[in-house]
């Protein structure tokens, strides 16, 4: 199959989706292709911090200034994705006082509002901070849901006519001499196109694949020396803190705690890897985070851990820089115009950067691409609210109109923002399917309508199966919602994919309460449901006549 578009964006992370939205709002015909589901790469595997810029205020003031500016914009245009938690930079005995002062000065120079707090004042805000902390700086850090943000960008792009194609892996770049003229993709989705290839001709191709950018570049023989660096994150089962807690010291592993929905996320480590799809997830990273961050918040040492996950930073530096330690590589983003750089027209790559500045990156790329394809469009992404954030719905209104009890309504409205009304307005009974995260059937069915049978895509839109039980009590209920629109076989395959994804992260948290939970899950799914053995049974035909035919019943 052959199709056409003006700009083809490769990569369904925050940058790619941001570019698709930006260009589509300028009236450009855009197609975005993503090999998995949206956020599958780096976007869905970060700690969910919306930077105030405080983190970079000493080492990289340009990044810091970009962060605070974008932070302010995202609070407006993506209010339903942002929880304004605030953040603290906390110093402990032995942490450099000079660094603390430079942090304060740096924030001030970058227009990042700060408040200097005594240890008592900081503990009044966060009672679980260690007793020996010395002082803290309050900054406007926030928590952001990267899934919701990314999906909202894709939805906005689609509203403006963009085509968003997930489960579509780029298998080749189409070249015409020294010009990229499109891509070949292979579909792996569930709409009957699985296995088929499609050639999409495009005036310009944007490579927004981050840590995978080198693999796309190689298809056209250009070298993009991304230096992927893995970082571990550990999810705790509740919010030990309600404010982002940073350790106030120069770069280091395990120095941030981000409250996120019902959980806290501990981060992170920084180790360069060869292959962003295959790298070791090592136990020392989890241990380091729990041990080091317990110095700031001691109860973390005893707290229940749900899972750990790893993300890969798309770090990049110009090849001549040759920084040896990945933690020293700049967090700036780079626009690589391959016509200028490599003599290959028709393609631009974007590497480096971070989620907080995704919109700004998208704006710069879109400006550049519009220039290349001769479109006069003005960026409007900073002024127009994302779908879901246009008109924050009043909580009370939601509770009354959807007959939901308060905690469930609150959670639903937080997730759905101004879409609450259209999603939750159903005359059918609307039971809670995922109790840990209070996700109702209507919300799940809405997500299924949008993304089909990929339950991991449903998960990131709704948070279903992301709580304490990690899918033990809800994964099968989510899967059953696919029936009768889809076959028993599809229900089972989709359930397995979700169950395996949940298992992958849980493995790194198997001690204490979560090990008990894992065993309970095993009893329930293997024994009570008998899912494990019937799943792997080589011969599906059971010789029914060899089994108990029942006793004669006397009634």
């Amino acid at each position: 199959m052959d199709t056409k578009t003006e700009v083809l964006v490769i990569g369904g992370g925050s940058t790619g989706c941001g570019i698709a939205r930006d260009l589509a709002m300028r009236g450009v015909a855009v197609t975005l292709v993503e090999r998995g589901t949206l956020t599958d790469g780096t976007t869905g595997r970060m700690h969910g911090l919306l930077h105030s810029g405080g983190r970079y205020a000493v080492s990289d003031r340009e990044s810091a200034a970009e962060c605070i500016s974008e932070n302010r914009i995202l609070r407006e245009i993506a209010s339903h994705c942002v929880e304004p938690t605030g953040g603290l930079f906390v110093s402990k005995p032995g942490d450099s006082e000079e660094y603390f002062e430079r942090k304060l000065a740096g924030c001030s120079a970058c227009d990042i509002p700060t408040e200097l707090l005594s240890a008592e004042q900081a503990r009044a805000i966060e009672p679980y901070l260690a007793h020996d902390i010395e002082r803290a700086i309050r900054v406007p850090d926030a928590a952001i849901d990267p899934f919701r943000l990314c999906v909202a960008n894709a939805a906005a792009a689609r509203e403006h006519g963009a085509r968003i194609e997930t489960h579509a892996e780029v298998t080749d770049l189409l070249l015409d001499g020294d010009r990229v003229v499109g891509v070949e993709i292979t579909h792996s989705n569930d709409n009957g196109m699985t296995g088929s290839t499609e050639r999409i001709k495009a005036t310009h191709v944007v490579n927004a694949t981050g840590a995978w950018a080198g693999q796309i570049g190689a298809m056209a023989g250009v070298d993009i020396a991304v230096r992927p660096s893995k970082g571990a994150m550990t999810v705790m089962n509740c919010r030990q803190v309600d404010t982002v807690i940073n350790r106030c010291r120069p770069k280091g592993d395990a120095d941030i705690i981000v409250p996120h929905e019902t959980a806290c996320i501990l981060g992170t480590t920084d180790v360069e890897v060869d292959d962003p799809d295959a790298f070791p997830e090592t136990q020392w990273e989890v241990e380091t985070m729990i041990e080091t961050l317990s110095e700031l918040v001691p109860i973390l040492d005893e707290a229940r851990t749900l899972r750990s996950f790893w993300g890969v930073r798309p770090l990049y530096e110009p090849p001549e820089t040759k920084t040896s330690d990945p933690t020293d590589i700049t967090r700036q983003f780079f626009l690589l115009d391959h016509a200028d750089r490599d003599g290959l027209a028709g393609m631009t790559s974007i590497v480096g950067g971070k989620l907080t500045t995704y919109r700004l990156m998208a704006e710069r790329i879109s400006d550049h691409v519009c220039d290349r394809i001769g479109v006069d469009g003005v960026c409007r992404t900073a002024d127009v609210a994302l779908p879901g954030s246009e008109n924050p719905m009043h909580l009370q209104e939601a509770m009354e109109s959807f007959e939901l009890r308060s905690p469930i309504a609150r959670r639903s409205v937080q997730r759905l923002g101004s879409r609450s009304s259209s999603v939750l307005s159903t005359s059918d009974p609307n039971p809670v399917i995922c109790s840990c995260e209070a996700v109702t059937r209507a919300e799940l069915e809405d997500a299924i309508t949008e993304v089909g049978t990929d339950l991991n895509a449903v998960r990131i839109r709704t948070r279903a199966s992301m709580g304490n039980c990690q899918g033990c009590f809800c994964a099968h209920r989510m899967a059953a919602l696919l029936h009768p629109d889809h076959t028993v076989e599809t229900v089972r395959t989709s359930l397995e994919a979700l169950y395996e994804e949940r298992w992958r992260g849980q493995r790194h948290a198997l001690w204490g309460e979560q090990l008990s939970q894992a065993m309970l899950t095993r009893y329930l799914h293997a024994t009570t449901m008998n899912r494990a053995q019937s799943q792997t049974e080589s011969s599906p035909t059971v010789a029914f006549e060899r089994f108990d035919g029942g006793d004669e019943r006397g009634d």
Partner: protein, 430 residues
């Protein structure tokens, strides 16, 4: 902490109130010993389906029709191989005495095939009479009935899934609204109690007993069905009457499909065991954990429970450890180690935590085999292979070495080890 000076004495002290603990206590009492049963939390039976699995799959993953014929496929270290098939029969015989007519399956040595609540077919050795009409090998047509607000049991999907697994009977599934529920998110377990009491509910045709109201809602969907399967919430104490009333109204057999926690069949079974313990004269102390013990060389003298900060001693000649595994909290773990929570018995496990788990959630998981290792007398061993204590035996999920969740042998392991540990403890206590 204050200590009561006079210890409470018995011949046998069983720690743990799950299926294995209660079985041990009954087996010990049958030998004439005086028995004390200490339990901390609500029994894990509430989390189990109420089905009694003995052996559902061989280690190679083949479904087992005749569990006693398949014992030979088990490895030598398996509990069943260690204690022999007579002990398994003994465990089942004790179970059959406790449950009487309320369970079926004892008429044959073969496994029965029972539908699960996600629409798979599961081999089991004993099943509640409430479930008896639901056997998957039966060819008579079935109507599965689910409730709108009970998302755990999706009747149309259960029906389609069972058909796809080759269940020979024609099946259909419908979802109805349960009579008598008011708030949109009321917990379905209100329904259990309403059916027990046969509460009056208002319907479009006036006030009616809820069992009749439910039967009426099912009736219009019956068509040619000769059996009706419902999620297992047809009453707690009066379940047989609920089923009888539904069957009489509908003129067909009615059965329950066992559900996940909180399991109503598991609670019914727990009640029957508690009654049996009372009849056998077993003294029970519930609600307080065992927190300490005294040992005299290789013998345990007494254990202490913590009752609101005061320490209560229980002295006995023989002890049975039936505190459960990772779920029942007989095993404790932290980031560095795994321990047995009462006597700190040796629990073999890899030092490196990355070796506690495998990559596929449905296949081999080392943690599923965690537990104490025992000899043929069920005495837990230390790391050199000698008994930890001369008067301590272990039963149930605390035993390690086998992944009972994949074999579908958890209940069989509990009954077998329970009856053997209890009987030996009773005999040695005299």
């Amino acid at each position: 902490m204050g200590v009561m000076s006079v210890a409470i004495e018995s011949d046998v002290c069983v720690i743990g109130g799950g299926l294995a603990g209660m079985t041990s206590a009954l087996a010990a009492a049958e030998t004439g010993a005086s028995v004390r049963l200490l339990s901390h939390k609500k029994s894990t039976l509430r989390q189990a389906s109420g089905l009694i699995d003995v052996l559902g799959y061989t280690p190679a993953g083949e479904i087992v029709a005749e569990p006693f014929e398949a014992m030979g496929s088990l490895p030598n270290h398996h509990l069943y191989q260690r204690v022999g098939s007579q002990a398994i029969h003994d465990g089942l015989a004790l179970f059959d005495r406790v449950v009487g007519e309320s369970y079926a399956g004892g008429h044959t040595s073969a496994n029965a095939l029972v539908p699960t609540y996600v629409g798979r077919i599961k081999p089991t050795a004993r099943y509640p009479a409430m479930t008896a009409a639901g056997l998957a090998s039966d060819r008579s047509p079935v109507l599965f009935v689910g409730f709108e607000r009970l998302s755990a049991f999706d009747a149309p999907y259960v029906s389609a899934s069972l058909s796809s697994d080759g269940m020979p009977a024609p099946t259909r599934g419908v979802t109805i609204s349960a009579p008598g529920s008011h708030r949109p998110d009321t917990r379905l377990h209100r329904l259990v109690h309403a059916l027990d009491a046969n509460e009056s509910v208002s319907t479009s045709t006036g006030e009616q007993p809820i069992r009749i109201a439910l039967a009426r809602r099912i009736e219009s969907h019956l068509e040619s069905a000769q059996r009706v399967g419902l999620p297992a919430l047809l009453g707690l104490e009066n379940a047989p009457n609920v089923r009888r009333d539904l069957e009489q109204f509908l003129g067909v057999d009615v059965f329950e499909v066992p559900m996940g926690p909180p399991s109503i069949p598991g609670q019914r079974l727990e009640h029957q065991f508690l009654d049996a313990l009372d009849r056998a004269g077993v003294h029970r102390a519930t609600g307080n954990p065992v927190v300490a013990f005294d040992a005299d060389g290789d013998r345990i003298r007494r254990v202490f429970t913590d009752r609101n900060g005061s320490s209560v001693p229980y002295e006995a000649t023989q002890f049975v450890l039936a505190t459960g595994g990772l779920v029942g909290k007989g095993l404790d773990s932290d980031r560095t180690a795994l321990t047995e929570s009462v006597f700190d018995c040796h629990v073999p496990h890899p030092e490196d935590r990355t070796e506690w788990y495998g990559d596929n959630p449905h296949t081999d998981q080392p943690f599923a085999r965690f537990g104490v290792s025992v000899d043929a007398d069920l005495k837990p061993h230390d790391d050199s292979g000698s008994p930890e204590y001369d008067n301590l035996r272990a039963a149930g999920a605390i035993l390690g070495g086998t992944d009972v969740t994949m074999e579908l042998s958890a209940s069989g392991n509990s009954l077998t080890s329970g009856v053997r540990a209890g009987r030996l403890a009773g005999e040695r206590s005299n």
